[in-house]
C-alpha cells in the first residue's frame, strides 16, 4: 500500500512538474494487450550455444505459431527475436525493453542459465511467463521459483539421474569434472556429485573452464593426472564438442570413460562417430523416435537447411503450442491466468509425452537414455541414437519442494 502511494506520489510530482502526466497514465486492459500476442525468442544466436537453439529455435516457435493457425482469438501472433550473446546484462536489458516498450507477452528460447536468471528477475516482476526451452539449471523451479517460470525441456537433475547413476552402479567410482564456469555448470556438477556420492562413488577433482573456451588441453591434463575412471563433461554446445575432442587428442578417452552430461543432437552430429560412438547420455527428444517426431522433424529440417532438431528446438515448439492453447482457452494474455491454465491442463504433442506442467513450473515428461551409434551402425548422418530406456517424468525429475507450489 505504502509502495503504491509513493509510486502515485512520484508520478504526480514528476508528471505535473513537467507536463508529462499523459505518460504515467496506465494503458487500459483489453482481453489481449495491444490487440495481439507477441512472443520474444531470446537466445545465443551465434556463439557456443548457437546450434543447439539459436535461430532455429525462432523457426521452431514460428512453426508452432503456424500450426496454431497464425492467430489467436481473432488477433495476430507475432514472433520477435534477439541475440543475448550469453551475457546476462544484454539478456535482461532486452527482456526489459521487450516487456516495457514492445508488448511482448511471453519469452521463449532462453539458453544460458546465467542469462535466464537475469531475464527471470525482469519477467517475474512484470508477471510475464517465461518458457525456458534451452537452460538446464534447476534453480528456476527451486531456489528462484516463480509462478511465471515454465521450465520445459530438461534440467540438471534429469541429466545427472539419467546419465550418471547407471554408470556409478556399473562400477565407475572415481569421477573428475570438467565444468562450465557459470550457473548451469555449477548446478550440474553439484547435482551429479550428490548422485555419485550417494551411490558410493567419489569425486577426485574438478576443473572449471570459462564459457566459450576453445583450448581444453590444461583441463584435460588435470583430468588425466587425477587418475579418474570416469570424466564428466558438465558443459554444453561447442564447449562440449571442444572438450570431448581435446580429451580424445590427449588420450584421456582411452584411460577413462567420457561422460557427456548435456549433449544435444547437433553436438553429436558434429563430432566424429569414432570419438563419440557408444557414449550413453540422456535426452528429452530424438527425432527418429516414432512417426509423429519424424513428421515434425522432416518439416523442421526443410525449413532449416537440414539442421537436426535438438531437444531445445522441439521444446521451444511444444512450449509455444501449449502457451497459445492456454491463451485461446482463457481468452486473455494475462500472465497469471495463462500460467494457471497451462498447469491445469497437461501438454500433449509430439515432444511432450505423458507430460504434466507441475505447479512449480517444471514440465515433467518421458526422458530417454540413449546410446550414440558407432560409425558402422549409422545409415545416414542423422542416424545418431539408439534409445535404450525410457525414464518416466516422475522418476526423471526431482520432487517439487513445498515453497514452490504455485497452484
Amino acid at each position: 500500500m505504502n509502495d503504491r502511494i509513493s509510486r502515485t506520489l512520484s508520478s504526480v510530482v514528476l508528471g505535473s512538474a513537467l507536463g508529462l502526466a499523459a505518460l504515467s497514465a496506465p494503458a487500459s486492459q483489453a482481453s489481449l494487450s495491444d490487440d495481439r500476442v507477441r512472443l520474444g525468442v531470446l537466445a545465443d544466436m551465434s556463439g557456443p550455444y548457437g546450434d543447439l537453439c539459436g535461430k532455429h529455435c525462432v523457426e521452431a516457435v514460428n512453426m508452432a505459431v503456424e500450426d496454431f493457425g497464425g492467430q489467436v482469438l481473432g488477433q495476430p501472433i507475432d514472433v520477435i527475436s534477439a541475440d543475448d550473446q550469453n551475457k546476462p546484462d544484454l539478456g535482461s536489458a532486452k527482456a526489459r525493453e521487450w516487456i516495457e516498450s514492445q508488448g511482448v507477452d511471453a519469452i521463449n528460447g532462453l539458453v544460458a542459465s546465467s542469462v535466464v536468471g537475469a531475464v527471470a528477475q525482469v519477467a517475474n516482476s512484470a508477471e510475464k511467463p517465461i518458457l525456458i526451452s534451452g537452460a538446464g539449471s534447476n534453480t528456476f523451479t527451486t531456489k528462484t521459483c516463480s509462478p511465471f517460470n515454465a521450465h520445459w525441456t530438461y534440467d540438471v537433475v534429469a541429466l545427472a539421474r539419467g546419465t550418471v547413476s547407471p554408470l556409478v552402479k556399473s562400477g565407475k567410482k572415481k569421477w573428475f569434472f570438467i565444468t562450465a564456469d557459470y550457473a548451469f555448470g555449477h548446478a550440474l556438477e553439484n547435482v551429479a556429485t550428490g548422485i555419485i556420492e550417494s551411490n558410493g562413488g567419489t569425486v577426485v577433482g574438478s576443473a572449471k573452464a570459462p564459457l566459450g573456451t576453445t583450448d581444453y588441453s590444461s583441463f584435460v591434463l588435470q583430468a588425466i593426472s587425477s587418475g579418474a575412471d570416469a570424466v564428466a563433461l558438465a558443459n554444453a554446445g561447442k564447449d562440449f564438442v571442444n572438450s570431448l575432442k581435446g580429451a580424445s587428442e590427449f588420450g584421456l578417452s582411452q584411460q577413462a570413460t567420457m561422460v557427456g552430461l548435456l549433449v544435444f543432437a547437433s553436438d553429436t552430429r558434429s563430432i566424429d562417430a569414432d570419438i563419440i560412438g557408444n557414449m550413453r547420455l540422456t535426452t528429452g527428444f530424438y527425432w527418429d523416435r516414432d512417426e509423429a517426431t519424424r513428421v515434425w522433424s522432416k518439416r523442421f529440417m526443410e525449413r532449416t537447411d537440414g539442421a537436426v532438431p535438438t531437444m531445445a528446438h522441439a521444446g521451444a515448439y511444444s512450449s509455444t503450442l501449449h502457451y497459445l492453447k492456454a491463451v485461446a482457452a482463457t481468452g486473455t494474455d494475462d500472465g497469471a491466468t495463462v500460467m494457471k491454465h497451462m498447469k491445469a491442463n497437461a501438454p500433449d504433442d509430439m515432444f511432450a509425452r505423458h507430460a504434466t506442467l507441475r505447479a512449480d513450473g517444471r514440465m515433467a515428461y518421458d526422458m530417454y537414455q540413449v546410446r550414440v551409434k558407432t560409425a558402422a551402425e549409422r545409415s545416414n548422418r542423422n542416424d545418431l541414437y539408439e534409445i535404450e530406456n525410457v525414464i518416466p517424468g516422475d522418476q526423471a525429475y526431482a520432487a517439487m519442494i513445498p515453497e514452490c507450489d504455485f497452484k
Binding site: 508520478s11 510530482v13 505518460l23 534477439a82 546484462d89 516495457e100 536468471g117
Partner: protein, 332 residues
C-alpha cells in the same frame, strides 16, 4: 587579445549568449526526451555518457590514456549493488558509496601509475584493471559469470519509488548533470588550466614549480570517482551488475566513445556515447547483429583517418573557422 575583443563583442551582440541558449535547449530536450524515447535506453546512454566524460577528463584534458577505466565502472556497480541487496540503504547513498569506493580504487591505481607516461601508463592501468576483473570473476559476492542479479532500485530518499522507469530516468538525469557539472567546473577552474598546461608541455609545468604528479593523481581520482558514479547508476538502472562492465572491452569502448565524439571537448564524449549506444541498439535485433563489432571497428578507423577531432571537435573547428563570432570552438 584579438580573440578577447571578438568574444566580448559577440557577447554584446547577443542578449543571451549562444552557449547558454544551447545548454538550456539541451536541458529542455533531456527533460522531455522520455516522452518520445524508451527511458531505459536513455538511461543507458546517460550512464555511458557520464562514464565517457569522466574518461575524457583524463585523456582529453591531461593527456593520460588510461586503459583500465572498466575497473572503476564495475567497482561502482558492484559496491552499490552489494549494499543495495544486503544493507537496504537508499539508492542515493548507494550511489555515493559506489562513487567513494571507485575513488579509493582510483587513488590506489593512480599512486601506482601516474609515475609512468604514455604507453607504460596505459599498460599499468590495463594490468591493474585485469587484476580487478579476475577478482570480480572469482569473488563469491559478485556471482561470477552470472552477474550480481536482483539489485533493487529502492526508494529515493526513502520516498520516491524508482522502480517506475520515469522516476528512475529523472534520478539518472540528475546524477548525470551533477557529474557533468563537476567535470565542467573542474575543466574551467585554475586547477583545470594547470591540467591543460601539463598536457601541452609537462616539463614546462614542472619548471614553473607545479607538482605535476599530484595534479595528475587528483585528476585520476576525480575521473575514477565519476566513472564509479556512472557504474553505480547503471547497476541500479538494469538491476544487475555483470562482468561486461569489468572486461577490458569496456575500457576500449570508452576510448572509442571519446575519440568518436571529440577528445578534449566538453560535449564530445556525450555525442560519442549517443552514437555508440544508438548503433548497438539499432543493430542488436536485426540480421546485422553479428557484425556489430565489425561496424564499430569500421567507424573507429574512419574516425581516426578522416576526422580526428571527432564529431564535436570537427563541428567546433568548422564553426570557429567560418563563423568566429558564434563563439564555438574557442580554445578551452
Amino acid at each position: 587579445m584579438n580573440t578577447l575583443v571578438r568574444s566580448a563583442t559577440a557577447g554584446l551582440r547577443l542578449p543571451l549568449s549562444q552557449p547558454h541558449l544551447g545548454s538550456a535547449l539541451l536541458l529542455l530536450a533531456a527533460l522531455l526526451a522520455p516522452a518520445l524515447i524508451y527511458p531505459v535506453f536513455l538511461m543507458k546512454f546517460l550512464c555511458l555518457a557520464l562514464f565517457a566524460c569522466a574518461f575524457n577528463l583524463m585523456l582529453g584534458f591531461v593527456g593520460m590514456l588510461s586503459f583500465g577505466h572498466a575497473a572503476f565502472l564495475s567497482t561502482g556497480g558492484y559496491v552499490t549493488g552489494y549494499l543495495m541487496i544486503n544493507s537496504g540503504i537508499t539508492p542515493e547513498l548507494g550511489v555515493l558509496a559506489g562513487t567513494a569506493a571507485s575513488a579509493l580504487l582510483g587513488f590506489l591505481f593512480g599512486k601506482l601509475s601516474v609515475k609512468r607516461e604514455g604507453i607504460y601508463f596505459a599498460m599499468v592501468t590495463l594490468a591493474l584493471s585485469q587484476l580487478v576483473f579476475f577478482f570480480y570473476l572469482q569473488a563469491p559476492f559478485t556471482g561470477g559469470e552470472n552477474g550480481m542479479q536482483g539489485i533493487p532500485r529502492g526508494h529515493l530518499f526513502g520516498l520516491i519509488d524508482l522502480s517506475d522507469n520515469l522516476a528512475m530516468y529523472y534520478f539518472v538525469l540528475a546524477v548525470f548533470l551533477i557529474g557533468f557539472g563537476i567535470i565542467f567546473r573542474t575543466i574551467h577552474s585554475p586547477f583545470g588550466q594547470i591540467l591543460t598546461a601539463i598536457r601541452e608541455n609537462e616539463p614546462r609545468a614542472v619548471s614553473l614549480g607545479y607538482n605535476v604528479r599530484q595534479y595528475k593523481l587528483l585528476a585520476f581520482v576525480i575521473s575514477a570517482a565519476l566513472a564509479g558514479m556512472a557504474g553505480a547508476t547503471k547497476a541500479l538502472v538494469f538491476e544487475l551488475e555483470s562482468l561486461t562492465d569489468a572486461h577490458w572491452h569496456m575500457s576500449g569502448e570508452v576510448v572509442l566513445m571519446t575519440l568518436l565524439g571529440g577528445m578534449g571537448t566538453v560535449f564530445g564524449p556525450v555525442v560519442g556515447a549517443a552514437i555508440l549506444v544508438a548503433i548497438a541498439t539499432l543493430f542488436s535485433g536485426g540480421e546485422l547483429g553479428n557484425y556489430i563489432h565489425i561496424i564499430m571497428g569500421f567507424i573507429f578507423v574512419t574516425c581516426v583517418l578522416a576526422f580526428r577531432r571527432g564529431v564535436v571537435g570537427e563541428f567546433g573547428h568548422f564553426m570557429h573557422k567560418n563563423f568566429p563570432a558564434s563563439g564555438f570552438g574557442r580554445p578551452q
